[in-house]
Structures are given as C-alpha cells and as structure tokens.
Amino acid sequence: MKRQIQILALGSLVAVSMVSGCGGSNNSGSSANLGRIGVWATTSVRSGSSFAQQDRLSNPVVNEVFATFANDRHRINNLAQPNEDVNNLANDIQGFMTGVAGRSQAITDVVKAVFAQDVMVVDLGSSAQTAAYLGVQTGGATGSTFGGRALTDDVVDTSLGVVFGGTVPALGLAPDDGNQIPTLTSDNVGPGGKQFTNTFPYLGAPR
C-alpha cells in the first residue's frame, strides 16, 4: 500500500513535468534519444581486482538531514544502491517528515517519491540553458526544466522549503497541512562567497 501511494505521488510529479513540455523518460535503457536520466556519484576502494563502494551521493542534504547518525543510518544509505532506497532512505524520510517536521502523510509521500530513489534527475532534452535543482520533478518551478544542479543553486533553501515550508502544497502535489515552520525555511546563507566562473572547470579557484 505504501509503495502504491509513492507511485501515485511520483505519477503526479511526472505529470507536472510533462505538462511543462520537457522531454519524456527514456525507458529503453539503450536509446540515444536525449531524455531524462538519473545521475549519482560513487567512490569505491580497491580490493584485489575489484572496487567496493564506500560512498554514494546525488541529491544534496538528503541523507544528512533525513538520516540519523544513530542506528548507522548514514552508513547504510551510503553503501546502498538507488533501487534500494525505497526500503532504506524512504523510512528515514518517513520518520523525519512526520516526526521532526510534523508534516502530513500526503506531503511526506511526495518527498519520499522525489528522493527515494536518490538520483539527480536531469532532462538532457530540455532546451534550458541553465540547471535548476529539482527542476524536472517540479516542472521547472525551481527555475529550469533541465533539472540537475547548478553551482549557484541554493539547494539548502530549496530543501528546507520542501521539508519545512510550503513548496509541496504550492506545487499542488499535496494539500496544505498548515504545519509549516517559517523560521526553518532558509539558513540565510547564499552563494555570494564563492568564486564560480563561466569558463571550464567552472568551480572556483582554490583558496
């Protein structure tokens, strides 16, 4: 039943992005069509002739906010694969959203559908010139239908808006539960301290 709800929520998210006109998902796994892909990074340590995963990262501040140090939750998620998140990270999100954040089950289900599986969704077919964190899942509401993540994206504030703010109800993905915590929706830090450039490799020179 829980999984069914997640699929329904994900379906509504997909509907939002389709309405906005960006490219559809590529379901063949082998087509050269520019469409929607999921991206994550791993680090693995050499062990004989193979390498064993030590860390995994995609969407920022997901594992670190939703999962506790207690009970080894961080480590378990780091060693898991995205297709296992529905049985791991999803439970961390459930506990945090309905506990700490005090949000409704409907909003919680949307957050679980977006982040578990924890991959960065990118629409390679988008004509947008810039990325925007969660742009695919929100139909471009965060700034661009390309999705991905731009260097200047304030991913902390975006995430805080989802968890503690009115982002999910504002997108029409779940009813407003009246449980927003406005004092927690921005850490009041922006990208102004960085030295990003418009030329490769784009990341700022070392300090």
Binding site: N26, N27, G29, S30, S31, A32, R36, I37, G38, V39, W40, A41, T43, V45, F51, Q54, P60, N63, E64, A67, F69, A70, L79, Q81, P82, N83, G99, Q117, V119, M120, V122, L124, A128, Q129, T130, A131, F146, G147, G148, R149, A150, V156, I181, L184, D187, V189, G192, G193, K194, F196, N198, T199, F200, P201, Y202, L203, G204, A205, P206, R207
Partner: protein, 225 residues
C-alpha cells in the same frame, strides 16, 4: 554535502573554537569511521548542468576530500575508483558509467577517464573499464578525447551552508566529533530557527576550505549513446 563532511568540519569547529586540537589530529581522530578516515572516498557534492560555454554539452562535477585548509594541497587516492553513474530508464540501476582513476604521486599525478560506457557490473562492487582515451595531468584541463574535456584538481569548496547552526538545531548530526552530546531523540530539534542574515555564516567560504574536484564536460548525447 555528506555527513562525513559535517563530521570533519565539526573537528575544524573544535579547532576554531580554541580547543588546541590541530587539524591533522582532528582528521586522524576520524579514523573510527572508515569512510571518514579516507578523505579521498568522502563525496561532498555532485553537480550536473548545461555547459555555459556550449549548451550542446553537459557538465558533470563531483567534489570530495573536504576541508583542505587554505593554501594547502592534497593528493588523489590512487586506490579509489570515482564514478558518475547514469540511469537511463528510471529503475535506480546504472546503465552507463564514467570511471576516473589516478596514478602517480605528488605534482606528477595523472588522471585516467573511461566512458561513458556500459558497466562491467552494476551495484556496489565494480571492476575497471578499459581506458581508451588520453590521460592527463592533475590540476590541468585536458581533452581525454576530441569531445571530452576533463579537469581533476584542487578547487574551493563550492557548498554554502550555515553548518554551526545546523549542529545547533540537530545535535545528533555533530555527535561523532564530540562537539555535541547525543540527544535523547536524535531527530529532536534543539533550536527553532536559523540565524538571521548578518549572523548566519557560510562556514566553508569563511574558513577558506578547498576540496578535490573532478569536472567532465562532453556532448549531451554521449551520456546516452
């Protein structure tokens, strides 16, 4: 940003608040958690965006090895495999991977890139794909192929966040550093707000911290070939 990142930063907070603990010792102290003990495995941020130089291209970037102090350097770990994993059909399993490895030591380290290609194996245990493209020097932009541009080297840490207030709100996340005490409920917020503009601090910029970065730019279509 990863929890290990926070944890190491907590060690630096201890340093900054005058405990007398030196950075190296704080890092050594992190040995109790295997991932933290190996900074080269410690991923901190991932980015994917259209190239500002050529919108037909896409840029993939990952940062790791956090908290390199201002003016400092760090070597790439030659026993670590770095991968961008790409899922083309939304099943949470990689269909293509880009693999990056390093050889050598010091300023003469070299970087090798393979892919995007179908992986030999999916999941948590992987083997190396054949490297058919040019290798290059670290800290220098090079073309692995005519269409694949690569940089691997030292950069400023691109993440911006009020770390100290985060630990104040959720002390559980700072426990391994010894900076905070384990709360009865690890998910119980201990503060009700962030610090206001003017008091909030971008910890990484303020401290001048650097990371190691891998940045790859290639045609969008190459990711799904």
């Amino acid at each position: 940003m990863k929890q290990k990142h926070y944890w190491l930063m907590a060690g630096v907070v201890v340093l900054a608040t005058g405990s007398g603990i030196r950075l190296a010792q704080a890092s050594d102290h992190a040995d109790t958690q295997e991932v933290v003990s190996r900074a080269g495995t410690d991923l901190t941020d991932v980015y994917v965006f259209p190239s500002p130089e050529n919108s037909d291209n896409v840029v993939l970037a990952m940062n790791f090895n956090p908290l390199i102090p201002r003016g400092g350097t760090a070597q790439f770990d030659t026993d670590v495999l770095y991968q961008f994993k790409l899922d083309l059909n939304a099943d949470g399993v990689e269909d293509r991977v880009i693999q990056v490895t390093f050889t050598g030591s010091g300023a003469n380290q070299r970087v090798r890139v393979a892919g995007p290609m179908r992986p030999n194996q999916v999941g948590g245990t992987n083997t190396l794909l054949p490297v058919t493209m040019n290798e290059g020097a670290v800290n220098t932009t090079f073309f692995a192929s005519p269409t694949v541009k690569v940089f691997a080297g030292l950069r400023e840490d691109s993440f911006f966040f009020d770390l100290e207030q985060f630990f104040t709100i959720l002390p559980d996340r700072g426990v391994p550093s010894g900076l905070t005490q384990p709360p009865a409920n690890p998910n119980q917020p201990m503060a009700t707000s962030w610090r206001p503009t003017g008091q909030a601090v971008d910890f990484l910029s303020n401290g001048g911290f650097n990371v190691l970065s891998i940045v790859i730019e290639c045609p969008r279509a190459l990711l799904v070939n």
